[in-house]
């Protein structure tokens, strides 16, 4: 066996063979891409990662890095504080759309406004997965959820939040991008975006943010392949992928 070299597989620092997630869920994929990006940059040993409350963060509990799980939505608060008191660490949060855009909207905006040198990765599956598929701020128009049984309607539920675009409007934001995992190119782009986001923190530029659209087959009541089609045809029409901000210096 000694002549064999591992050329592909789960990163060694991931401690479990598989992650708690429903079939077809892309949240563990986002986590794995973030872990790979971290390892390629050689920063895992000085990282403190913050788990969001919800489906997104679970992977970090099984990764061999320092991890903290604060209250629902408060990831950016805890991350800000850790980065301030330990500026030599790399601090990033892995949150969901409910965690960061609803209950955690205040901490998200607060961290952006203070220009914290942290990285926020948001897995956006347009609903609350953990609790059974309720409406979230990023739910698509007409999308059926257990708390919008007739589909999201503007009169009662308003319109989807554009997190990546919003983050880009803050001067303290160094990087903001959105990607989706609907094609091999999307996987590559996602890793590139997350690596760039970490690099902004390594270079001490400002807050870096990546939103990754993520399929939730169980709660969307769709087979995984149809989920990917729905992301391409519906979600990405409302929330286009791409880099919304990328600066090396904030004047």
């Amino acid at each position: 066996m000694s002549d064999r070299k591992k050329i592909f597989g789960t990163p060694d620092i991931i401690l479990a063979p598989s992650f708690m997630a429903c079939p077809g869920c892309q949240h563990p994929t986002i986590g794995r891409i973030a872990v790979e990006a971290m390892m390629e940059l050689g920063i895992d040993g000085k990282t403190v990662a913050i788990m969001g409350v919800g489906c997104t963060g679970g992977l970090l509990g099984m990764t061999n890095i320092d991890v903290m799980l604060p209250a629902h939505g408060r990831g950016p608060d805890a991350a800000s504080a850790i980065k301030r008191v330990r500026p030599d660490t790399i601090v990033w949060t892995l949150q969901g759309d409910g965690d960061s855009m609803a209950i955690g909207a205040g901490p998200f905006v607060g961290a952006l406004n203070r220009g914290e040198k942290i990285t926020i990765i948001m897995g956006n599956n347009t609903n609350y997965g953990t609790t059974g598929g309720q409406l979230s701020p990023t739910t698509m128009m007409n999308q059926t959820t257990t708390t919008s049984p007739n589909g999201r309607a503007s009169e009662n539920e308003g319109y989807p939040v554009h997190a990546a675009e919003m983050a880009a409007t803050f001067k303290g934001c160094a990087y903001s991008a959105r990607s989706a995992l609907t094609s091999p190119a999307g996987y590559k782009k996602t890793k590139k975006y997350i690596k760039t986001a970490f690099q902004k923190q390594i270079d001490n530029v400002g807050l870096s943010f990546v939103e990754v659209i993520s399929a939730c087959p169980l709660n969307w009541r769709k087979p995984p392949v149809e989920c990917l089609e729905w992301i391409d045809n519906v979600v990405l029409k409302e929330l286009p992928v791409g880099e919304y901000k990328n600066v090396d210096r904030i004047e």
């Binding site: 890095i65 799980l69 504080a81 008191v85 901490p107 406004n113």
Partner: protein
């Protein structure tokens, strides 16, 4: 060392934190504690320490979760409505065994209430306003000097028990100016915080740390099950009971004991002195820790037939702890916020009027 300064109670918070080697302050403006946040904004950066103005009090307390988890001494200060917002965080901090200090400069509640002094947060501070089974030590200073000294005590106790500690001030103590001796108190050395997050490679044994407030969902360092954690929490809170602290005046020969904390303890002390001059056998029991509550001394005195007059600037909160401690052995009278010397938000519980009340009882 030992320099004397003349400062407001709200500024004594800062000087005390400095002598406690506090590393970071996270806070949000709120009256009547603004001099505290402003002191930290002014003084901490000069000393290479961290000051962050948060986006809300929920932000402040969540920042404490992060900073405390990273292993540094950290604190916030707030007033009553902000304290309300911090309750969720208090519960999470205790669940995650994270030490930090919260200073509450009370104003009148409920709701937005007033921006002036009161003691209307006793219940939520002492009984815990957040969800779940948890406790926190509450220190109640009655002077600027004590605010300074208790800050140091608070950081020591927080680190000793890995639990948040509250220093309970009020609008009067926050705003009065008194001389403060900047003495640094020596405490026994505490263990290295090997549980803190600082990056895996910075850990002594290069083993990761995982800090969370979900002991029923995720295994903790103490074991796999929720019950393992409950047993640990129970032991922690039981051992904290040994920190009970109080002061007495005329403990040996009083028929009536005033029971008061914070600024009301100052008024009560004066009332006791006035009463003694008139030959009345009146004493004072001043709880310094409101949790744990000094039940034993009250119970002993009650069994000897001493009555109590609880003096607190609210509608009657600590009185229930005094009654529980007295176990029906004696009479527990009340002198509260409706007896202020002026019937408004600026009114206070004054020594002369407390004395009148004492005379009615005796």
């Amino acid at each position: 060392m030992g320099e004397r300064i003349f400062v407001r109670g709200n500024e004594a918070i800062g000087w005390g934190a400095l002598n406690a080697d506090c590393d970071a302050f996270f806070g949000y403006p709120i009256t009547p504690q603004n001099e505290s946040t402003e002191w930290f904004a002014r003084e901490f950066p000069k000393k290479g320490k961290i000051f962050v103005q948060s986006e809300s009090e929920t932000g402040s307390i969540s920042m404490l979760f992060g900073a405390s988890g990273a292993g540094v001494r950290c604190m916030t200060s707030t007033s009553s409505p902000g304290w309300g917002l911090m309750q969720e965080g208090m519960s999470h901090l205790s669940a995650a065994d994270l030490p930090c200090v919260i200073v509450l400069v009370q104003r009148g509640g409920p709701g937005a209430g007033t921006t002036r002094h009161a003691q209307t947060d006793y219940n939520s501070v002492v009984k815990g306003g957040g969800p779940g089974d948890y406790n926190n030590i509450v220190l109640a200073p009655a002077s600027c000097q004590e605010i300074h000294d208790f800050m140091q005590q608070a950081f020591y106790l927080a680190d000793k028990y890995c639990n948040p500690v509250v220093v309970l001030s009020d609008g009067i103590l926050g705003q009065i100016r008194e001389p403060v001796k900047l003495n640094k108190i020596e405490f026994e050395e505490l263990p290295y915080k090997d549980w803190a997050v600082r990056g895996r490679d910075n850990q002594k044994n290069c083993a990761r740390n995982f800090i969370h407030s979900a002991p029923g969902l995720i295994p903790t360092r103490l074991g796999m099950n929720y019950e393992d954690w409950l047993v640990h929490a129970h032991k922690k809170f039981e051992s904290m009971l040994s920190e009970v602290k109080y002061e007495t005046l005329h403990e040996k020969d009083s028929d009536l004991f005033l029971v008061a904390f914070g600024y009301c303890a100052r008024s009560s002390e004066e009332a006791v002195n006035m009463a003694r001059k008139q030959g009345l056998k009146v004493g004072l029991i001043r709880p310094i820790t409101l949790w744990p509550f000094p039940e034993k001394i009250i119970n002993e005195k009650a069994k000897k037939g001493c009555d109590f007059l609880v003096v607190e600037d609210n509608l009657g909160q600590m009185i229930h702890d005094v009654k529980a401690s007295a176990e029906g052995n004696s009479k527990v009278h009340f002198y509260g916020i409706l007896s202020r010397h002026q019937p408004n938000d600026g009114g206070m519980l004054m020594p002369g009027q407390i004395l009148e009340n004492i005379k009615k009882i005796l």
